[in-house]
């Protein structure tokens, strides 16, 4: 369950970028999580909600964009998505491939409700 420790890292990034008195105004924290990053989005959301419940970040929610796992084959030039995290080209069977996306765990933005 390392999603809890990932959630802790997310909170630390928020706290170092949002002034303390505005933490309660944080509504959405957007992230891009690769399909083959080893992170389960539901567990991450659960962990985040659990550890922020009694804090000034209790109104904040995670907005997780799932990024598909995509490889590019250098033999046949085809870019393709697969759900297995395989490095083998489904088109020609080649293994000279590079990962285009799907392994990232990237922070993107924090949305705050403006104080009226």
């Amino acid at each position: 369950m390392h999603e809890l420790s990932i959630a802790q890292n997310i909170i630390e990034i928020v706290m170092s970028n949002v002034p303390k008195d505005q933490l309660k105004d944080v509504r959405t924290i957007s992230l891009r999580i690769g399909a083959s990053s080893g992170i389960v989005a539901d567990s991450l959301e659960f962990g985040f909600t659990a550890i922020t419940a009694e804090t000034s970040l209790r109104s904040a929610r995670l907005n997780i964009e799932k990024v598909p796992f995509v490889i590019r084959c250098h033999s046949c030039g085809i870019e393709q998505e697969n759900e297995e995290g395989s490095a083998v080209c489904a088109s020609c069977g080649g293994i000279d491939t590079t990962i285009v996306s799907g392994t990232e765990m990237q922070f993107s933005e924090i949305e705050l409700e403006e104080a009226v």
């Binding site: 420790s5 949002v18 080893g38 992170i39 297995e84 392994t103 993107s108 933005e109 949305e111 705050l112």
Partner: protein
């Protein structure tokens, strides 16, 4: 609504400490391995056989990571190598900060190789860079040959696969070729070794490779 854009890795803080660890190791000419596997695959046994085989050839130090107990550090200490135990108290993986702290208690004088034995877990340790040169993933024949497909992140991030407990193959439905091909479909550049810590099969080949590789240096 106001928006603050922060384009950075979620584990950036860990990665920064890992980078500092890596610089420290490289400046001292030390080659660092991060041993990862599911619990019971044979990481500690493999480490013991490696220490035995390279005794007098390569000075090795060990960082042990476990959820609880210092049993593994006690096993390793019998080989008269510097060893420090990290107890994570429930934590499912080591991180770069834990390793940096452990280094304060490890004598690295004349050391050429540091082996970090991670917590037994094929999921979480895959995401945490510790400052190692390579991850060595140990998969035992008793775990079945589909492990790489079930845990692709770990096998993708590793440089070496050690298939352990090959002495048990006559008693198992596992097929080493299938296991190997599954691993290579996730990571075609994996260097693969087959070992048994009971019969010592394959240990010499693995140790010879390690000796050559660490001398080449990064």
């Amino acid at each position: 609504m106001s928006v603050i854009t922060i384009e950075r890795k979620v584990l950036e803080k860990n990665d920064e400490i890992a980078k500092a660890n890596r610089e420290l190791f490289r400046n001292r000419g030390i080659y660092v391995l991060n041993f990862v596997s599911s619990p019971g695959a044979g990481k500690t046994s493999l480490l013991e056989r490696t220490l035995e085989h390279l005794r007098g050839r390569l000075p090795i130090a060990v960082i042990e990571g476990d959820v609880q107990t210092d049993f593994d550090a006690q096993r390793v200490a019998k080989y008269n190598v510097p060893v420090v135990q990290i107890v994570t108290n429930g934590g499912c993986h080591l991180d770069a900060k834990l390793v940096a702290d452990a280094l304060q208690n490890l004598d690295l004088t004349d050391i050429k190789i540091v082996v970090i034995e991670n917590v037994g877990n094929l999921v979480c340790p895959a995401n945490y860079d510790l400052g190692e040169e390579i991850k060595v993933v140990v998969a035992s024949t008793t775990e079945g040959d589909d492990k790489p497909l079930k845990y692709p992140t770990m096998f993708r991030n590793a440089s070496v696969l050690i298939i352990n407990k090959i002495d048990l193959l006559p008693h198992l439905p596992s097929n080493v070729e299938v296991l190997k091909n599954n691993a290579l479909s996730i990571n075609p550049s994996l260097q693969v070794f087959e070992t048994s810590c009971t019969t010592d099969a394959g240990i010499a080949g693995w140790c010879d490779w390690l000796e050559k590789t660490c001398v080449k240096k990064p």
